[in-house]
Amino acid sequence: MAFLLAFYLVPVGLLLLQSVEGGSLAAYDKALTDGLYVGVLLDTMLIAAYVSIVCLLLGYPVAYFLAAAPAPWPTVGIIFVLLPFWTSILVRTYGWMILLGRNGIINRLLLESGLISAPFPLLNNMTGVLIGMVHVLLPYMVFPIYAVMRRVDTGLVSAAEGLGAPGWQIFRRVYFPLTLPGVLAGVTLVYILSIGFFITPALLGGGKVIMIAVLIEMQVRQFLNWSFAAALSAVLLAATLLVYLVLRRLFRSDLQWS
């Protein structure tokens, strides 16, 4: 608790204090009414939502595999999920640039095999940003779900089978609801981390995808306008908390229903 106070609450308090420098709310007025900042904030939240959904769709089966596969496979799988996790984000981002480019490995393979006649625009647009971000954030989805899946009582699944429920029904009404806490944790983590993303979107989006962290960084480092940067950060923090509360609400009522 003291740790949280010293390294989180106090700095956030100072930040909020800075955002109302001179007792004026001008910084908030601009952050909340200027089309640029509001628009980029909404874009950022939308991108974070896309990334969370894609991560969930990809991560859930992987987590299931890790939890259910026989002996050596879970260990092997975990290594494969963790390996990129330990590589620098910048290196991975440049790696994607080589793979996804107009003359990148993927496009060249597709072109030479005659599957497509013109290169797919995979890089320097939203597609590139999503691929890069999902790749970085996937482990944050897989591990919380995996941890919950391992604790699921398989007796319940057997019981449902014994009672004659078809596979889909078992998944929908028994197994999936039991893993929901993991899904909530994973989605929350991925969503919150996505919102603050910075270098990956700047490089893989070719400059055409702007996220709010980029604008905040600009105010901090380029223009030294710290009170406005603080106001933008406070708005971002509030928006994030709001989404978190909504997510919790949504999932909790779901949990009760099951």
Binding site: L36, R102, G104, N124, F223, L224
Partner: protein, 353 residues
């Protein structure tokens, strides 16, 4: 409360005593620290700085130079504001340097220690920003796409997508690009400032959909040409030089390139400020600048340095007798005043479909 007040007064007196202490010692050389910290831009730069300046400083004064990176105006302000200064000297971009001087983040330069007499006349009377070197934002192109005789040579031709087709790359920032747009629109370099921002954005509208990549980092600007994401682009000259030196099919067009100063400053209140001045006096020397340029391809501004520079390198320096007159200087003061508003407009423009 009186107790608190007494403590405060005591603290202020103690602080004043500490503050005036160095003055009492007069001009005597302060004790040598074991090391000083110089903040540089890292990467390939730090190797060149090590070889040209740090090693020499260590040899001359017996003080170890520890280098950190990256260069960060925000961090500089945070250090000065909190009076917790790690650096004796920091590198700083030209535009940021003007802002830093305006915000009082630098110690004044001691021009009795730092000899600028071999520098261009307009740089000799610096207050607190030390002119470290010069770089140029230039046009670069793939030589396998554009042959000699049929290649763009001006910004007007860079804009001409009919005659010179192919994806472009430009920096994701308004600086340089607004000027390039105006030059493409027929404005002459001496009439660029104050920038007609509306006119520049209107001209940029024409090229926008032909720019495949708006680059963010220096490394990216050159990589984009190597990967053929673009065949024509802009970059800082040293970025192209490194790749040309390795045999990449890339060439530089110096015509209408824009020069900017890169700088050094001593953070306000730095405890090693005295040694910071000594360090800058070493950086100002012609020979050290020659060694530096030979490694990294960026020249210093001591005009004598060219004597110590490799002949094969000279065509790639913005200050070479052939390249220098083809280029012009950014008005950094205009950018320091207008940067925030214009950059905001740039972001808005970038989001328009």
């Amino acid at each position: 409360m009186p107790k608190l007040e007494r403590i405060t007064v005591g603290a202020i007196l103690a602080a004043l005593a500490l503050y005036s202490a160095p003055v009492a010692y007069g001009q005597a050389e302060p004790p040598k620290p074991a090391q000083i910290v110089v903040n540089d831009s890292g990467g390939a730069m730090q190797n060149a700085m090590r070889a040209a300046f740090y090693a020499e400083f260590e040899k001359r004064y017996g003080i170890k130079v520890v280098n950190t990176s990256p260069v960060d105006l925000g961090k500089l302000q945070a250090m000065v504001k909190s009076d917790n200064i790690e650096w004796a000297v920091t590198e700083i971009g030209g535009q940021d340097a003007i802002l830093a001087e305006k915000f009082g983040l630098f110690e004044p330069l001691d021009l009795k220690v730092i000899d600028l007499s071999n520098y261009p006349k307009h740089l000799q009377n610096r207050k607190s920003v030390f002119p470290k070197g010069v770089y140029s934002t230039v046009m670069g192109y793939r030589t396998d796409v554009f042959k000699e005789g049929s290649r763009p040579k001006t910004w007007a031709e860079f804009w001409d997508v009919q005659k010179f087709p192919g994806p472009r790359t430009m920096q994701n920032a308004p600086i340089d690009n607004l000027e390039f747009a105006l030059l493409a629109d027929g404005v002459t370099p001496d009439k660029l400032y104050p920038i007609d921002v509306d006119r520049a954005f209107k001209k940029l509208d024409q090229i926008k959909k032909h720019v495949a990549v708006w680059w963010t980092t220096g490394a990216q600007s050159a990589q984009v040409l190597i990967d053929k994401e673009a065949v024509l682009g802009t970059a800082w000259n040293g970025r192209y030089y490194v790749l040309i030196d390795q045999g990449a099919p890339i060439a530089i067009e110096w015509n209408q390139g824009v020069m900017k100063e890169s700088s050094f400053g001593i953070p306000k209140g730095a405890k090693d400020a005295y040694w910071g001045q000594k360090f800058l006096s070493l950086v100002a020397e012609a020979k050290a600048q020659g060694v530096y340029a030979n490694i990294i391809g960026y020249p210093g501004l001591n005009l004598e340095a060219i004597k110590f520079t490799d002949a094969k390198l000279i065509p790639f320096l913005p200050t070479s007798p052939e390249n220098f007159p083809k280029q012009w200087w950014t008005d950094l003061a205009w950018w320091a005043d207008n940067g925030p508003a214009v950059t905001e407009r740039w972001s808005r423009w970038m989001l328009q479909k």
